[in-house]
Structures are given as structure tokens and as C-alpha cells.
Symmetry: D2
Subunit: 358 residues, 4 copies
């Protein structure tokens, strides 16, 4: 556990922001998956720094190397390892915080838990770790696509700007057409301006990523503890800066009566469907064949350019000054991370369900 996720399709990430790089071992990957390198690279590029004006301007190409588990372009069923070498570490950038605890960062908790701490760029607690997840998620997506399952995330909120439309009324194909990754162009423009203004104010702001999984068969999810949405929630909450998760009607749904909230069944073309989908595609912890949709809340990035009061490792008052190149808002780059973790969860449950059918 700890740095591993999954039961049968199990990923183990390793590496730090300013060490040799970050990587991931995928153990349990089905053999024979065509490892489409350009697709995997395109996923990493959706997450990489420097892709637009509203994200961190660090220069990291985020190119990957496969260290094991591939033969003649296909997965062999043995551990499939990706390495994304660090190329742009500027360790000298971090000397000013070597002994200080940045507010709402992991500096203090890592120091107390482990007694030692790689303070360069946050070390292991850096969001750079998520590059490894995106590589693993790309492999999961390649497997899921063989099964007719697709996953698409998008930005639905930045600060107080909220896209008040259900995903069914949006053209999700539009998501990648703008830097924010919001499928509604007008809202995307407002969000862009808010993020850019926040950046100029040397501040940061939070946001929400919505995600839809289409094509998942009935039967994924293992009650009672490993319900589909419980694992999905854990996977999302394990991403840096995430403070909340909801599926289907979520927090809003508590205001409803059961007579409104229940999703009536009907049969169409031989398929069981529901007229509404407040359940978000999961009932009793098991997928019901409808679309699965959920929201993930990201707090504002903790690194700001303004001076902040804090303490140092010795307990003395200290001022933390923002330096370096950071994201004013994390959600545009978080979209592929949410998709990656959703892909890992879905494929893992697919395999777990398959195992039960003698």
C-alpha cells in the first residue's frame, strides 16, 4: 500500500521533484496491450508544465522511457515500468525554504513523520509524482478502449465561476480546445481571465474537475468496502490538493426527497436503463451500466508569490517568500490526472469482476 494503488492492476509510483525523476511500476498489466507510445506521450503532455500561459512556466518535456515489461511493442504481463527523467531541477531555487515550513504544504508533516525530508521542490510530496500516474493511466486507457470504455474529464468550476450545466448538455469534445479545459467556450474564457488575474495578483485559486466514464458494463465494484465509488473517491482524494469528492447527485442530492432522487428503471432495445441518473451510475456500490459521473474539488495551490508568516524547523517565526514558477490554478493540468486515476480504478474493477466468473 502506501505508494501502490490497485488490487490486480496495481501501480506503484516512486520518485521526487528534484531527484532523478519519477516513475511507476505497473504490476498485473494484461499481456498483449499495444503500447501506443504517441498516445502515452500525448497524455503526459496534457499534464506537463509550460503548456499554456495559465500554468507553471517550468520547462519539463516529460518524456518517458520504458524500463521493463515491453517486448516488440506490447506489454508482456510482467512489470511494466515507466521512467520520466527530471531535466529541469533547479535545486538552488529551494535553499530559501530548506528549513522553513511553507503554510499548507507537506513540509511540516513530512519532517515530523520521517525525521528527514527532501525539501527540494517538495520532494515526494510534489505534484510531479502525478506524471507517473498519468503514464499508468494511459496504459489503463489503452486496455479500456479495447473494452469500449472511455473516460473524459473537464473543468467545471474555477473559484466561484461554476458551469451550471449537467455534462449531458455539454459538448465534451470541446474540452481540449482551450487552455482551461472547460467544454463551454464562454465559461472557459471567463475562467481563463480569472486564473490570469489571480496569477497577476501573485495568488492562486481552487477549482473542480468533473469526469464521466462511459461504456462501463454492469457489475463493476466489490461491496461492501470496495464499492466502485469508494475506490474512485479514494483514488481522487489521493491526488495532491484534493479536498472533496462526490458522485452522482452528491452533496446537492441530500436536499432531495427519495421520490425525486430515485432513478426509475425501464427497458429500451433490450437494455436496462434509468430515466434519471442521480445515482451517478453506481447502485449498492456496483456499476449499473449507466454513465458514471463525479466531481473532484481542488483547493487553491498552497505556493503563492506573496510573503507569508510561518515558522522554521526550530520553531522560530519565519517569513516564507514565494519564488519559482508555480500554477495559479491546478485544475487545467489536473484533468488528465483525474482521468488517469479513473482509468486505473475502472480497469482494476473490471479485472476483479472477471476473476469471479468461473
Amino acid at each position: 500500500m502506501d505508494n501502490s494503488y490497485g488490487t490486480l492492476f496495481k501501480i506503484t509510483t516512486f520518485g521526487e521533484s528534484h531527484g532523478r525523476g519519477v516513475g511507476v511500476v505497473i504490476d498485473g498489466c494484461p499481456a498483449g496491450i499495444d503500447l501506443d507510445k504517441s498516445f502515452i506521450q500525448s497524455e503526459l503532455s496534457r499534464r506537463k508544465p509550460g503548456q499554456s500561459k495559465i500554468v507553471t512556466q517550468r520547462k519539463e518535456p516529460d518524456e518517458f522511457e520504458i524500463l521493463s515489461g515491453e517486448f516488440e511493442g506490447k506489454s508482456t504481463g510482467t512489470p511494466l515500468t515507466f521512467m520520466i527523467w527530471n531535466t529541469n531541477q533547479k535545486s538552488h531555487d529551494y535553499s530559501h525554504i530548506a528549513e522553513k515550513f511553507r503554510p499548507s504544504h507537506a513540509d511540516y508533516t513530512y519532517q515530523e513523520k520521517y525525521g528527514v525530508r527532501d525539501y527540494r521542490g517538495g520532494g515526494r510530496s510534489s505534484a510531479r509524482e502525478t506524471a507517473a500516474r498519468v503514464a499508468a493511466g494511459a496504459v489503463a486507457k489503452l486496455a479500456l478502449s479495447q473494452l469500449g470504455i472511455s473516460i473524459q474529464a473537464y473543468v467545471s468550476q474555477v473559484g466561484a465561476l461554476t458551469l451550471n450545466k449537467p455534462y449531458t448538455e455539454l459538448d465534451l469534445g470541446n474540452t481540449e480546445s482551450n487552455d482551461v479545459r472547460c467544454p463551454d467556450s464562454a465559461m472557459a474564457q471567463q475562467m481563463f481571465e480569472l486564473i490570469d488575474k489571480t496569477r497577476k495578483n501573485q495568488d492562486t485559486i481552487g477549482g473542480v474537475v468533473a469526469c464521466v466514464i462511459k461504456g462501463a458494463p454492469v457489475g463493476l465494484g466489490e461491496p461492501v468496502f470496495d464499492r466502485f465509488h469508494a475506490e474512485l473517491g479514494k483514488a481522487m482524494l489521493s491526488i495532491n490538493a484534493v479536498k472533496g469528492f462526490e458522485i452522482g447527485s452528491g452533496f446537492e442530492g441530500v436536499k432531495q426527497n427519495g421520490s425525486e432522487h430515485n432513478d426509475p428503471f425501464f427497458v429500451e432495445d433490450g437494455f436496462v436503463k434509468t430515466t434519471t441518473n442521480n445515482s451517478g451510475g453506481v447502485q449498492g456500490g456496483i456499476t449499473n451500466g449507466q454513465d458514471i459521473y463525479f466531481n473532484t474539488a481542488f483547493k487553491p495551490v498552497a505556493t503563492i508569490m506573496k510573503d507569508q508568516d510561518s515558522i522554521d524547523q526550530h520553531g522560530n517565526a519565519a517569513v516564507v517568500s514565494g519564488k519559482g514558477r508555480h500554477d495559479p490554478c491546478v485544475v487545467p493540468r489536473a484533468v488528465p490526472i483525474v482521468e488517469a486515476m479513473a482509468a486505473v480504478v475502472t480497469l482494476d474493477f473490471y479485472m476483479r469482476n472477471k476473476a469471479r466468473q468461473l
Copy 2:
């Protein structure tokens, strides 16, 4: 997995609504815990049916028997097994739904996943399973109390009625003084009336349970995947009817700027503290010694007394008629369940952290 939760303090629940009963095996329970029977029973009684006018009127005493792992009143370190025998099963009550799929229940998904299904009272998917969790949670609480860690949950929302006060402004000692388990008496009265009205309307309504963990030391939580709040979120999302989870500032926090959201450190009486606690006591996935607080959203109970359109196992249209004795709102009885799962998560992380310190 599946029906087990936890890494070192591991609980495995079993049993159905209308079978012999529900039970739990606790594997990894530290030896020498004084198994205070009256405390364990009092926890079960907080969850049991029939405790007030606004909960289901089923009569289940929910008394427990210990099947293993106890010697002379103490845990022995071997599997500690609790059994809560069913005494009030009325299987004939369920014949009317044996072949029908109740909307937003687990009937359809269990049938499809497993091919067979114990339709009596929902079988394994019944919330009766949570009685086993409460028993396990009571043991975890007994261990945590030795460590100075306490957990208290309360109802903070019913339908649209929201307790708009942070927990720090509430007298949580008041929680058990009313049937709703809301620590604010005036709000509790309004919530009671809303639930009672909903019940008379043969309908149900959702709600939110808030929870606070006090006294947890710095250092609990195992990055990167097993962050404290990621496991906590999974544990909550694994409870029947839960559709959302948030920690600290949660979904509201996304509206803030980093400069507002960050929690400045200071030292008081030799202890590191933060002036605000938007982090909810967890930073980088590790507890920071401040209070941990979080919210869990429960959808309206799916069983309503009104007729609903649905289908049967053969795909034919069918009307599902509500019968039996059900909860109009689940949150008053969910309070001890949320506490139980929080206790299991916290103790498990305590043990995991301890293991690392050679």
C-alpha cells in the same frame, strides 16, 4: 478487500439482513484491550432501529455475542469476532419484491453481478451490515481512548436545513440530547419536524453528517495513495447511501484564494499549531496535529412508501409498492456509523505509523 477494510487493524464483515445475523472479524486488534461490554452495547444502541419516532420502527435489540478473541475480558491479539444475531426477520414481508428491482436499490446490480440474490430485506446490501462496523468501531474507540484520541460526529444538514456554524462554535456534548443528533437544539427541532413531515408524506430525505477527530498525533497517513483523508473518504463512501465526502474547507474551499486558504503555522506552549484550519488537520496526506474534520453526504433513503414504476427480473414493467418499516432519513442513525469507520481508519494509521519507527 471486498468485505475487509484496513491494513493492520483489519475488519471483515459478513452477514445479511434476513439470514442468521451480521458479524465482524477484527484481525490485528492489539492484545490487552479491555473489552468494555456496556460501551460496545451503547454504541450499537445508538445505531439500532426503533430508538425514536423518526427512525425505522423495526424491533431489533442488536445485542452482540463475542465468538472469538477474548479471554478474561481482554482482547488476546487473535481474531476478535462479534456476532449480532437477527431476531426480527420477517421474510414474508419481501415476497412482493422478490422478482422486482426497486429503484436506486442494489437489487438490479447484485442480480446482474452475482446471478443470484438474497432479496430478503436487501440481503447483504442492507444497511444492517453497518451494525457490524459499529461493533468493530467500538473496539477501535476503546484502543484510541488509551491514546487520547476521540471522535465525535453529528448531523449538520437534513434536506435544505443546514447548520451554518463551524464545529468550533457548537457544544458537541449536546449531540446525543435529541433524536436527530444535531448539537444545536433549535436546529435539531426544525430537523426533527422536517423528518417527521417527510415520514408522514411516505417519503424520505437526505442529510449530512459532520465529524471531528481530536487528539490525533502528527504523522498519521501514508502518502501517496493512502493519504489520511483518502482512506477516510473511502471508508465513508463505503457506507450505504453515501454520495459525497469532503475534508476541511472541502468544496467551498475551491472558491478561496491561496492567500486566504493557507493555514499559517505558529508555536504555542511548545506545540506547533495553525491559526486557521482550512486543511482540516491533514497536509500532504499526513495529520498535522490539528483537529481533523470532515463531512459525509447521505442521499435520501431509496425505500419509500409510495408506488414507483420499475421493472422485474424479466425486463417487464412493474410497480414497486413500499411496505415495511423504514427510515425517513438515515442521518440520525448514521452518526455512530461515521464515528465507527473514522475510528477504524485512525487506529489503523496509528499502527501503520508505529511500525515504521525502528
Copy 3:
């Protein structure tokens, strides 16, 4: 872990020799298995005390009750729980050893590890725990029989009396025809006499159980750590009194040259076979479709009727006097236990392998 075994077909045993009973939760059992009660009982009866003159004369009927997971005679895919109630506990028998450490028993190590200890009949460390394994193994066998896989164990050695024939030259159908469970009648008679003489000498003696798995498909076993025989070995070594395990040519095989030991492949009737089977049906940790055979060594039972020098909990010298009703040789009753664990291992690997095939 600890009291659980298996990845997908996972069993968790609980209970003590002189408590309420012993039980097992099977989590991950495929749904729809016909739970043939008379078969399950017959398996338990092969292990139960009092079945012949050369085993312990305790009277335990070892009848089972299903506490969960069954509906209309079939497994439902939810936790399947068996309870075997204790009916013949004589706790007063054990007062004489309450504070003494019996040589080569678990008394001392349990006391030191846990600080408390249920000294009645060994508590959790009693071989009574294996009754729960046999119940779980019976379910695994029912599932395996659907897949054409069978498992048969037999006694191949008692003390120095060794059955020097490979299993291929024995009529394994003969195994249950005598009290020793040795398929060679002449050898069975000698072994019976040796055990009986040992019993009369108030002593005990060790033995070896051999086992053959037939019909397992190619591809079971997950390299590199979860090799088929590594898990099989762990499963056997987890049985009380086991001190050794070998597969195929085992310890004798080290004397051979590679040119003798290697198993040449050939094709017969479209099936790949090997002319010899020194590998024991496993190559590279994966089953190769040939018979799997292995040996498990059981030390002499530690409880003897003679007086022995030892110490008490306070470190004082003490004499331990044998009392009660014990087995002079454990292997006749160990045969169904070896089969049960082998069944659990094989079914678990079958499910793990199936999960990988998208």
C-alpha cells in the same frame, strides 16, 4: 494477512480450541456454487477427532453451521461464513498448565508476543483451527470440481517408515480404506502398528503427507514472488506442526544432474506433455499442465503423556505432565487439511489468472 489467506478467494479463520468454536469467512467465493452440505460434512469428518483408534479420542462431532453467504443452497458471492461450534471443551483439564510453558508448544511465544494467552487447549494455536480451513477447502473443492481439477493427499511416511513408490504407482483410490490414509495396504498396516505402539509408549511421532493435484490448466501461478509452489509452500507451512515442504523432485533432486532432471517436452494428441515430471508440474512458478505433486513434513506432536522439564511464566523450573486426549501422530488427520489448503491455493490462482485475460 495474519488470519487471512488468499488474494481473490480469501479465507479468514477465527476461533479457539475452548471458546465458542472455530469459523471461517470466505470472501470472494464465486456466486452460484452449489453448497453440497453432505460433501462439506464428509470433509470435516475426515479431520474430526475420534474417528479411529490411532487419533485423539476427544469427542467433537464437528458439525458446521452456515452463518452467511448462502441463499437457496447456493453461494451468493457475498461472504460465506462457516461456524463449527465447540461442544466438548473441558476447560478444567487445562488448569495444570495455565502458568506453565509446554515444550515446543506455542505457550511461550504467544505469552511473550501478546502479553495475554488463552491457555485452554492452546487457544488459537490449537490445531482445532484447521477445521475451519477444511470447511473452506471443501467449498474450494466444489468450485474446482466444476473446472475438472481434483486434489488427493495421502500419508507417505510415518517415522522412518517410508512409502518408496511414486504416486503414479499407487492406487490413490485406496487411501480412505484404512485409518492411516496410506494407499498401500501393507505399508498402512505397518504404519498403523508404529503409531499404535508410539501411543502406548505415551509418545508421539512425525510423518509426511504427499499430495497430487490433477487437471490444473497451464498458466496458474504469478511470478515472481507468488509462484504457484511458493504460495503452496506457504499454505502448507502455515499448518500446525509442519516443518518442511518440497515440490517435484524436492530435496532429492539436488543430487541430480540437469541432464537427468530436465523434463523433455513432447506433444501427444495435441497436448504438450513432458516425458518425466521432476518439475512437479510447475516451471518458472507457473503450472505446465502436468500433475502437481508435493510433500509436507509434520514434526511429532508436541503434547506427550510423559513428564517433561520446563519453566513457568515466572521463569521458575516446572514439570509439565501430559494429560488429556491427544494424537500420537498427526498425519492421518492432516490429509484433508493438506487437501483443503491446496484447494484454496489452486482456486485462488485460477481466479487470479482469469482476471488477466481481458
Copy 4:
């Protein structure tokens, strides 16, 4: 699972014989361990090819690089990753077996299980994978040495040449003084000659590695399934070419009576000891503070230089000709591998035991 071993000190190995290299991620390594590079390298050098005349003459320096988890020479508590790059792959050496199944190798089983197979040097099934284990074991040894626990293995049998002395009568400090790694010089010389003769005969031969763990405290091991020796057995059986494992009196002990085999307790200098140690330091699955000793049986290496009859992937008869540089006997190089796995098992149990003590 699969390519991971351990519960809290968990190692995941990856890599192939002829790919980029082999590596290991250690998840759960305690923070603050001084990562003594020269010690780690010396362990790898004990395993590396070409170290003497009686091992394979491949030239692999087996130097390691740390990819993550180290800061200023110490472990940080985050995943510690070692990479041992391949430098001497000669893929063209393997074209002659690309489509053939070598007898008693993993070629056939991998092909059938995964459908694809990296045939170069055995790919993942190559013993080269054990280099990664040795690196991880070196870290475990560094942690154990802080706890006063030491591990020493040696060769006790080659072919029929058996060192008929208990370890207590040997000077284990002598082990590294000869190429065979047998602490008895006269026997070492005989073994050397046997191996050398076998090599000249273009054949291979098996052997046994004995191992002693000293200084382990009372209380390691988690009954009932994760007994100390059950995990130890699994760990050993997961090493390439291992076909048997025994602890303490092992297979020979079955011939004894209980009155001979039992280990009487006594107290000396305030410590509980046993006059004999047939238990091998483990009772009831838990260490009792005495030395732990065990044997691991290695079959003769499957790769021989002689022609062998076999089949190809199409089921046609084929002759497999030995080529390349291989070990005539694996046990001299297996000594550090056995120690490494024993170290991982012991440290993992140490941490598991510690977690239970609130």
C-alpha cells in the same frame, strides 16, 4: 502480489535479463537508514556473474544506481528505488531459442500464460531478477543490523556431497573464504571439484543452501497463516530453481518421537532458552528468541550445454542446443539471495510486530 513481496517493508522488483536492466522499489523502508553504498555494492558483488571459475562467465558489473528515496545519504521513508542497468546483453545469442521451449525452463509456461514472451535470456524468468532482491536485502540488512539481527547463509550440499555438521559446529566466518561458500574448507574443496567436473561435462548439478538468523527477538511471526516460517518458506520458494524448504529439524525430524524432538525450556542469565533447538527458533509460527535456521533446496540449473529433445511453439519436435555462459551449479551465487530474502522477511515481521504494541 505477483512482483511484490512484504506487508510493511514491501519490495517490488521489475526488469528483464536483456532489457534495460532490473530494479526494485522498496516501499515502507523506515526513514533515516544510512544507505552504505559500499556495503550494498559488496552484496551485489557476491551474487554477480564472473566472480569465480565455477560460476557463469558472463561479464556484468552489477553496479547500482538509486533512482529515488534517498536524501543526503539516508532513506527518506519514501519509495527507495534501485536500478541495476544491463550492460552485457547479447540478444543475438538467443535467436536459436526464440521459438523453442527449453526443457524445465519457463519458456513454455510464460508463452501459454501471457501469449507473448521476451525470449532473450529468459526475460523476466531469468535469475537476473534476483539482483534486485539482493539490493533490497542489503537495505533490510542495514536496518536489521541496527536491531542486532544478523543473517548468514552458506552452501551445505552440492549434488550428493553433504556437510553433515550442524551450523553450531561450523565457523561461519569461513564461508566467504572459498568460491563455493561452504564454511568447511575440506568439503568446500570437494564441492569445488564436483562443480568443476560437472561444468566440464557440459552438465549442471543441484545443491542446498543453509541459513542462520541470529538475534531475532521473541515475537516475530503472525499466526495463523503468516507464521514466521511460512513466509520464510514462501520467500525461499520464490527464488529461481528452488524446489524445497525446511526449518529446524525439517524432513529428518519426522522420524523422531516427540520426547526427543521437544525443546525443553530453561532460564539462563534471565533469558529463556531451550536446551535443544529442533524447532529452529520458531514455535507456533512465532520466533522464540533462539537461532532460526533453515535449508533451501536448489534443483540443477536447467540450461545445459548438451543437446536436448524438445518442441517449438508450433508443437513440432525440436532440438535445443546449449549455448552461452551459464552456471554449472547455482548455490554459490544463491547464498546472498537466500540471505537477502531472509532479511526482507525478518524486517517485515519486525515492523508488523511493532505496529501491534500501542
